[in-house]
């Protein structure tokens, strides 16, 4: 199907494409994703990762839920097993990239200024500043925000969303677009659970399931090294799955990325 000759019209969407027009005017059917340019750039980024056998993970959460601490602990634990690189997204400062570099792995900081999310072009520009030779896993730490980052494909293979136990356990119900997009949900800072009797991990999980999301919900504390093996094993599985796909010339996208109009054509 293409966007030029009309072959993407189906009985289901034809009625949207035409309407009577005035003389001197014409109506053209487009049926194209509004973020097509971003999606095209994301596909380019993904092909770049695939050709190098890199697993790319988009890490999202609200500010302060422990994304950078998770990366620090992960790098320290897995540095003899995998080569890891990190792209950091923040409105301001190099602080997070410096924390990652202190762990001895390459990190590039994207300073977005006032922008509330990363997009595929920003990630592409960052890739030009990085040496990805031999890298196994690239983490993209998105801007801390449970709203905007969910709408922009960066070229990642999987989305990981953190929910710290210092937040409400109903966050998935409040931010459904974000939590529906997660391929894994990490309940972070669980060492604080004994002090926070209003956060119920079972309830948080059930809010994720209410979004028809089958993603694993992993409880962990990066600072106290609790439950981290479950996360490391998930990473190992994802990298193996990604390598197997890449060997067949295939790729993967986060489970819910819309596949375009075809999904909704009937």
């Amino acid at each position: 199907m293409c966007d030029t000759c009309g072959c993407n019209l189906t009985p289901g969407n034809r009625k949207f494409a035409y309407k009577p027009v005035e003389p001197g005017a014409t109506t053209v059917s487009v049926l194209q994703n509004l973020l097509k340019k971003n999606d095209d750039q994301a596909a380019h980024n993904r092909a770049h990762f695939d050709s190098r056998g890199i697993l790319t993970i988009n890490l999202m959460s609200s500010p302060g839920s422990g994304k950078t601490a998770l990366l620090e602990a992960t790098i320290a634990a897995l540095k003899n097993e995998f080569k890891i690189a990190v792209i950091e997204g923040d409105l301001e400062t190099e602080n997070d990239a410096e924390r990652i570099r202190a762990q001895g792995v390459p990190a590039h900081q994207i300073v977005t200024g006032t922008a509330c999310h990363l997009d595929a072009h920003l990630v592409h520009d960052a890739l030009h500043h990085m040496n990805l030779n031999g890298v196994d896993i690239l983490f993209i730490e998105n801007v801390g925000n449970l709203v905007c980052p969910a709408s922009f494909d960066l070229g990642q293979h999987v989305n990981v969303t953190l929910l710290s136990v210092t937040e409400g356990d109903d966050k998935p119900a409040k931010y459904p677009v974000m939590f529906r997009a997660a391929d894994a949900v990490l309940l972070s800072k669980t060492d604080l659970l004994p002090h926070l009797d209003d956060f119920n991990p079972v309830r948080a999980t059930s809010h994720v399931r209410n979004l028809a999301n089958t993603a694993p919900v992993i409880q962990l504390s990066a600072r106290k090294d609790i439950g981290m093996d479950g996360w490391y094993n998930w990473l190992r599985e994802q990298l193996a799955a990604q390598r197997a796909l890449a060997a067949d010339g295939a790729t993967r996208r986060p489970a819910i990325q819309p596949d375009g109009i075809q999904l909704h054509a009937v």
């Binding site: 969407n13 949207f16 494409a17 035409y18 309407k19 027009v21 001197g24 005017a25 014409t26 109506t27 053209v28 059917s29 487009v30 049926l31 194209q32 994703n33 509004l34 973020l35 097509k36 340019k37 971003n38 922008a115 509330c116 999310h117 997009d119 709203v147 905007c148 969910a150 709408s151 922009f152 998935p172 119900a173 409040k174 459904p176 677009v177 974000m178 529906r180 809010h207 399931r209 209410n210 979004l211 028809a212 089958t214 819910i256 819309p258 109009i261 999904l263 909704h264």
Partner: protein
């Protein structure tokens, strides 16, 4: 406020279509949008004039078709409407469902002003 980024992408698409079809301007267009796209129609409508100022889409009128959130149950097969944060089957209540509508963000059609031809 990522709606401004979306509006900028939209204006760029409209400009491309106007150029490809050798038209003068885009006069109206229709967007199909679902709540699970993460883009709010009203915010997109207020961001659009900022992004379109000075472009061939400057005077274009926006028309939204709001896509309902609908799921198909993988357990019982029923299709039903759902709330955006409770994508459960309306028939059997199971959460193993697939979204069939509600995450769209699609430019469906554009009405173009053609150049006046003198013969």
């Amino acid at each position: 406020m990522h709606e401004l980024s979306v509006a900028q992408a939209l204006v760029e698409q409209l400009e491309n279509i106007v150029r490809e079809r050798k038209a003068d301007a885009a006069t109206s267009f229709r967007i199909r949008i679902g709540p699970l796209s993460g883009v709010v129609p009203d915010l997109l409508a207020s961001a659009f004039p900022l992004a379109a100022a000075g472009s061939v889409a400057e005077h274009a009128v926006m028309d939204f078709v709001e896509a309902p959130v609908r799921v198909r149950c993988q357990t019982c097969g029923a299709e039903s409407e759902a709330a955006m944060n409770r994508l459960l089957c309306g028939a059997c209540g199971d959460w193993h469902t697939q979204l069939v509508s509600g995450d769209e963000l699609i430019l469906e059609s554009v009405e173009l002003q053609l150049p006046v031809t003198t013969q």
